[in-house]
């Protein structure tokens, strides 16, 4: 592959597009696929053929458009007219209204705040390109970043770019990506690895899945750039087996990239070699923890080990290893293409760029959104999310997945970034955001998440293995109104021990939902103690 | 004034009481400082309104035990959990992983040679689903682990209490000692 060939592919795609009057996009990511989007795609194709429009109108499956709960979603481009809940029976609503036709029952306002308030970098190609065609990715400047890096930048310049961009790891920890790359780049060793963490075990989270299904080449490109920067020639994508669609699209993408010489030996005519293989996880949450993930790739039991040494120094098979999250890798190519300064201009002082959130719970628009760092919780929940359904009152929002915390109404105006959420006793995590209304009971919420941590604890270290079970039992006592004052003290003590002595992040952060609800909603715990005393 | 002392047993083997009695002649040495107001070893059948120190052996295994220990706590200044059964439910708790009905059935029906019926009489206290250490039910002031704790340990504990100190027994005894 050469730059010219890359540009030829792009030109070819643009020509093909210009020969069509319009194109119809049907979401074929997992959310819509589960509602039979494939059949919708076929039906629309059939109808166009009947109408004799097959030549003028392009129909293609694209990645996730974000409003998954209203799927299957369909859009007519270039005017970006959107339809929701399309099935075989009502697909004619789309094909009958190709010219700026009348409004239908299934129109979806594409200029609503849900779409307009978003800022897309990671998901820029989601809902736009056909994820199974490398040519479409290239048409949107795909692999140009890799080319630039290989031809115009030395390893250190790439790392410095990343440092300047201010990008931080999206896997939960928020560790500065540039710093991590620089550490692995400096690590001594002829053999190094790049790992993409696509384990995504948080219940209700599907940011990474969506990117993999909608734009897999973006990840391959990000990994290749990383490999060049740190001096690795082999990469692994660790993806959970529960993501069959993502896996099959990744496989297709890897094959296509290999065939085009974008993976393999002498990439872009340079001495840079890089291969990527896929490893499947069996769906244990803890296997998303980097050292457990590495143990799992090595064929062992997926349990974390104490750090240091960090993977950057001693990772896969004892070699220096760079491990980043899917969303982190998805940011790399745009940073290289558009520049570190551009990226650093988005977001807050300490947290740059955008963040993808999975908005769920008691909110009108549930789905996947990408917003600039620093947007307030209120904007996210009430403008983009459309507020609480049924006129009920907002109560709290849980961020950061099972080990995140619950944030009450008084803090809705804080600007979301890594620091602000941590200060409130929650975390950014991987981007779960569950909205709760006045009917939710915070003790039950804490208990639900503790149950998750208890059953996902790997069982290696005592505080997490036994502590989470004990905390869960105490929360059950509260839920059943059998708790005493002493139970409250014990609960707080146990949370403290588990947080400060557990081996890995799972245990260390598992008390967060309890601690944050104790902080902001203590009366809900107290009520349950009171009740028992009154009974006697 | 003499310190009012009570002793009692819940679900245990009375071994701790035997060990207590093994204090022997040293009991006489403190006899003028204590008054045994309630005990399986004396005749009084009603628990007094006020007791300075109550020494309890055994785990909480039945509804009777439960009522008894709650009552004792109410009328006692210092509650001593004596022995492993009182402190960690010990041998009595070995039934805990198994449902109560299954156990009774095994004991009185399946393994019975004669008269294989489930015991049922108003005087028989109902068993709790789970045998518990005392401190799971009421607050305990002094723990004397051991199965049974030695007479020396018990004597030391009582003597310390009489002198107005909460005894530190960690060097003297432990679970299973």
């Amino acid at each position: 592959m050469t730059l010219e060939e890359l540009q030829e592919i792009k030109a070819g795609e643009e020509l093909a597009r210009s020969q069509k009057k319009k194109s119809i996009h049907v979401c074929v990511a997992a959310g819509c696929m589960s509602q039979n989007a494939e059949a919708v795609l076929n039906t629309i194709e059939g109808q166009l053929k009947e109408k004799g429009l097959a030549k003028d109108i392009d129909v293609k499956g694209v990645g996730c458009m974000g409003l998954c709960a209203a799927g299957p979603l369909v859009s007519i481009e270039p005017e970006n007219r959107m339809f929701q809940e399309i099935n075989q029976a009502n697909a004619f609503l789309v094909t009958d209204n190709l010219e700026k036709g009348k409004k239908t029952t299934n129109d979806l306002a594409s200029d609503s705040p849900f779409f307009k308030r978003q800022y897309k970098i990671v998901t820029e190609n989601c809902g736009v390109i056909n994820p199974e065609r490398i040519e479409e990715y290239i048409a949107f400047d795909g692999y140009l970043g890799l080319y630039t890096v290989l031809h115009d930048l030395d390893q250190n310049e790439v790392v410095q770019n990343l440092i300047k961009s201010g990008l931080r790891g999206r896997g939960g920890g928020g560790y500065p990506t540039g710093l991590k790359w620089s550490t692995v780049a400096k690590a001594v060793g002829a053999k190094k690895y790049v790992i993409c963490n696509a384990d995504e075990g948080d219940p209700g989270a599907f940011m990474d899945r969506s990117v993999l299904e909608s734009d897999p080449h973006r990840i391959l490109e990000g990994m290749a750039i990383a490999a060049y920067a740190i001096g690795a020639d082999e990469g692994f994508i660790y993806v959970r087996a529960e993501y069959p669609l993502a896996i099959s699209r990744l496989k297709v993408a890897i094959k296509q990239a290999e065939r085009k010489g974008l993976l393999g030996n002498n990439i872009f005519g340079t001495t840079f070699n890089f291969t990527i293989s896929i490893r499947l996880g069996a769906g244990a949450f803890v296997c998303g923890e980097e050292t457990a993930l590495i143990a799992s790739i090595e064929g062992g039991r997926g349990t974390p080990r104490p750090r240091p040494p960090y993977p950057a120094e001693s990772g896969l098979w004892g070699k220096p290893t760079l491990i980043n999250n899917v969303e982190t890798f998805a940011n790399i190519a745009p940073i290289i293409r558009k520049g570190a300064e551009w990226y650093a201009s988005i977001g807050t002082e300490t947290s740059k760029g955008t963040k993808v959130f999975a908005l769920a719970g008691q909110v009108v628009n549930t789905g996947l959104i990408e917003v600039p760092m620093g947007m307030s919780l209120r904007e996210i929940i009430f403008d983009i999310g459309g507020g609480i359904p049924g006129g009920r009152k907002f109560k709290a929002v849980q961020t950061g997945g099972p080990s995140g915390g619950c944030i009450p109404e008084e803090f809705l105006d804080i600007k979301v970034d890594y620091e602000s959420l941590t200060k409130l006793g929650s975390i950014m995590g991987s981007g779960g955001m569950i909205v709760m209304d006045e009917n939710s009971n915070m003790v039950d919420v804490a208990r639900y998440f503790m149950e998750f941590c208890m059953s996902e604890s790997c069982g290696k270290c005592v505080p997490c293995r036994v502590g989470t079970a004990q905390i869960y039992d105490i929360l059950t006592k509260f839920a059943e109104r059998r708790a005493t004052e002493a139970d409250l003290t014990l609960l707080e003590e146990l949370c403290d021990v588990v947080r400060n002595t557990s081996l890995c992040g799972l245990g260390q952060s598992s008390p967060n939902p309890v601690l944050s609800t104790l902080k902001y909603f203590k009366h809900e715990y107290m009520e349950r103690i009171q009740a028992e005393v009154n009974q006697e | 004034m003499k310190a009012k002392i009570a002793t009692t047993w819940l679900d245990g083997c009375s071994g701790c009481h035997m060990s207590f009695l093994d204090i022997d002649e040293r009991l006489l040495a403190i006899a003028d400082r204590i008054e045994l107001v309630y005990s399986p070893l004396v005749d009084n059948k009603v628990f007094p309104d006020y007791v300075d120190v109550t020494i309890v052996e055994g785990a909480v295994a039945s509804v009777d035990d439960l009522a008894k220990i709650k009552k004792i706590r109410k009328h006692t200044k210092y509650l001593i959990a004596l022995g492993d059964c009182a402190i960690n439910a010990n041998v009595p708790s070995m039934r805990n992983p198994i449902p109560v009905q299954e156990i009774i059935n095994r004991a009185y029906v399946e393994n019975a040679f004669i008269h294989d019926v489930m015991p049922k009489h108003p005087a028989l206290p109902e068993l709790l689903a789970r045998v518990m250490p005392i401190h799971e039910v009421v607050p305990v002031d002094v723990f004397i682990p051991g199965c049974p704790p030695s007479n020396d340990t018990i004597f030391y504990a009582v003597a310390e209490l009489l002198d107005g100190r909460i005894p530190d027994l960690t060097s003297k005894t432990r679970f299973g000692a």
Partner: protein, 241 residues
């Protein structure tokens, strides 16, 4: 150890006192050498360290988090605090959690009076367990001709797993299940007695800190463990190479 395998000599402070250490030593090794008490259960000299029981947590100046002494390598100028009120509290609580997990009925246990867990409970001043006992239902595997595995007493230190794998080279043991459901298994969850891979060497029994592994036909008093062979064995093996 440094990257090129050279061993250096460091000076560090333990509880305010200067001590010297080789760069290939752990904080635990140096503390023990200098007779500082740090409780441990999963650690055993001669086996790999895994940092699982969390009893050996210490404070290291400049570190936000507590660190397990058994897996933390020494470094020049390191300042270690081996004990203070907070550490003592955490250690007690951790030990209490271990007691509460399975059925540790010391009075009728084969390891009564020579059990590391029981010993530590006394050493740390534990006279009752504040967290409720869980009383799980676990079986006993007595299928082996010489040894018995009683899950009720197991604390999941995985010493048996490591000694069998790292020293005996048989790898009979593994851990199955997650979280509170985790347990040690033999021969991919077959009865121990049917394990063709077991050489009957007894190493696992001798390193087990509690009454989970014991020898058949021996009284409680006779069931003492001898794990002292390990450092000797590993040292001799290293010499050979």
């Amino acid at each position: 150890m440094t990257a090129n395998g050279q061993i250096k000599i460091f000076t560090l402070k333990i509880d305010g006192k200067d001590v010297s250490a080789r760069s290939d030593q752990t904080v635990l090794q140096v503390c023990r050498e200098n007779e500082y008490f740090i409780p441990t259960l999963c650690h055993l000299e001669g086996l790999s360290n895994i940092g699982a029981c969390r009893l050996c947590m210490v404070e290291v100046a400049g570190q936000r988090k507590l660190l397990p002494a058994c897996t933390t390598m020494v470094s020049e100028g390191m300042e270690v605090t081996t004990t203070n009120d907070k550490l003592a509290h955490y250690r007690k609580m951790t030990l209490e959690l271990i007691f509460s997990e399975r059925n540790h009925t010391c009075s009728v246990c084969v390891s009564n009076n020579h059990c590391e867990l029981q010993y530590l409970s006394q050493k740390l001043g534990i006279n009752h367990i504040r967290v409720p006992y869980r009383f799980p239902k676990f079986a006993v595997d007595a299928s082996h001709p010489y040894f018995i595995l009683d899950h009720n007493r197991c604390i999941l230190c995985t010493r048996c797993v490591r000694v069998c794998d790292e020293i005996e080279g048989a790898h009979v043991w593994d851990v199955s299940g997650r979280g509170i459901q985790a347990k040690v298994i033999t021969e991919l969850n077959q009865p121990w007695g049917s394990a063709d891979t077991c050489t009957q060497c007894g190493k696992c029994v001798n390193v087990c800190p509690v009454g989970a592994l014991s020898e058949k036909g021996r009284s409680v008093a006779e069931n003492t463990k001898r794990s002292g062979f390990l450092p000797y064995l590993t040292a001799r093996r290293k010499e050979k190479i």
